[in-house]
């Protein structure tokens, strides 16, 4: 039984390593094109509705999957203006932080939700 339990942890550890690798090393190279909904909003002319709306929650510690403070200056291809843009490191670190944080939060939440094992009071003779 003990060996079985250990091997679940081994599996989880290996899986977490994969997740961390994806978040830290692969996510900086993910496509930055608009996603399905964003593209539809753009094409069908209702993206402004979101752009004009003040976000209801402004305290996100890592907005837009970019670790704050890690930016580089680049020239916007369309306007020619110099803009601050998050570096690949900012994206990777955001991914790492999120993956580890959500792993811990999920574990904690699952422990809280989990039914307590039946109490062994030793009352029965």
């Amino acid at each position: 039984m003990e060996a079985r339990k250990k091997s679940v942890y081994l599996f989880v550890l290996a899986g977490l390593a994969v997740a961390v690798t994806l978040a830290l090393l692969v996510s900086p190279w993910a496509s930055s094109s608009p996603d399905g909904l964003e593209k539809v909003a753009e094409d069908k002319g209702f993206l402004e509705k979101a752009e004009e709306t003040e976000p209801a929650w402004k305290n996100a510690p890592i907005p837009d999957y970019a670790m704050p403070g890690l930016t580089k200056e680049t020239v916007d291809e369309e306007t020619g203006e110099v803009v601050e843009e998050p570096t690949r490191l900012a994206t990777g670190l955001a991914g790492l932080a999120g993956t580890v944080a959500i792993f811990l939060i999920a574990w904690g939440l699952a422990l809280v939700l989990k039914k307590k094992p039946p109490e062994e009071t030793g009352a029965t003779p």
């Binding site: 961390v20 993910a30 593209k39 999957y65 999920a106």
Partner: protein, 226 residues
């Protein structure tokens, strides 16, 4: 397909929020019975993996990208209730921690991706699995089909919410959303089948919905033991 603030009106936000809260509450209640020593770490892993995988936008047609949803993966690995809980948690962390998906649209996002894209999609998976012959191939085929449908249904629900909110008429939003997500769904099905195959190969006992009695390693063992 994380809906930002500003796309939905109050009525739709409140209605989807109430439906989401009710279902997640029920899911959490059901989940209590299913959580044990083994499923707690697996749930944590599943949440972390889905969060990471959702960051990996892949390019699809015409300057658009799509990313993994993970609802069917979570439901196949953990069952619908724990799976729905995982997706809900991912969406809450994305909204509060990363400003991905509006907080006023959180109920709708949970409705679309955790209820429709995970819990409802699980019952599609189960229906397909029950109707098809019992084999590893058809198990994975059911997984893939449910994964594709989960993305279609979730994006369809999103289009209905946009229409009900007066943001975009259904005749415009629905075909546009379904059209692009029919392609994104292929990515979803591919990733889901790939990950489930790997887990089945390594640890079939960790796939909650896997109910085929003779798995390959067991058969091999039986042959060795005579």
């Amino acid at each position: 397909m994380h809906i930002p603030d500003g796309f939905l009106n109050t009525a739709v936000s409140v209605a989807t929020g109430a439906a989401a809260a009710g279902a997640v509450g029920y899911g959490a209640y059901k989940a209590r019975e299913e959580l044990d020593e083994k499923s707690v770490p697996l749930l944590a892993l599943c949440a972390a993996f889905i969060f990471a995988a959702q960051m990996l936008n892949f390019p699809v047609a015409g300057g658009t990208s799509g990313h993994f949803l993970g609802g069917v993966l979570a439901a196949v690995l953990l069952g619908p209730w724990l799976g729905g809980l995982v997706l809900t948690l991912v969406l809450v962390v994305q909204a509060l921690g990363f400003a991905d998906g509006g907080v006023t649209a959180l109920g709708a996002n949970v409705f679309n991706m955790a209820l429709v894209g995970t819990i409802a999609a699980y019952f599609i998976f189960r229906g397909l699995k029950g109707a098809l012959p019992r084999s590893r191939f058809y198990f994975l085929a059911s997984t893939g089909a449910a994964a594709w449908l989960s993305v279609m249904l979730a994006s369809g629900a999103c289009a209905v919410e946009l229409a009900l909110s007066g943001t975009s008429p259904l005749g415009v939003a629905l075909p546009a959303m379904l059209g692009i997500h029919a392609i994104i769904g292929v990515g979803e099905a591919t990733i889901t089948v790939l990950v489930v195959s790997v887990v089945l190969a390594v640890r079939p006992d960790l796939v909650r919905t896997w109910d085929l009695t003779v798995s390959v390693p067991e058969k091999a063992k039986a042959e060795v033991n005579g």
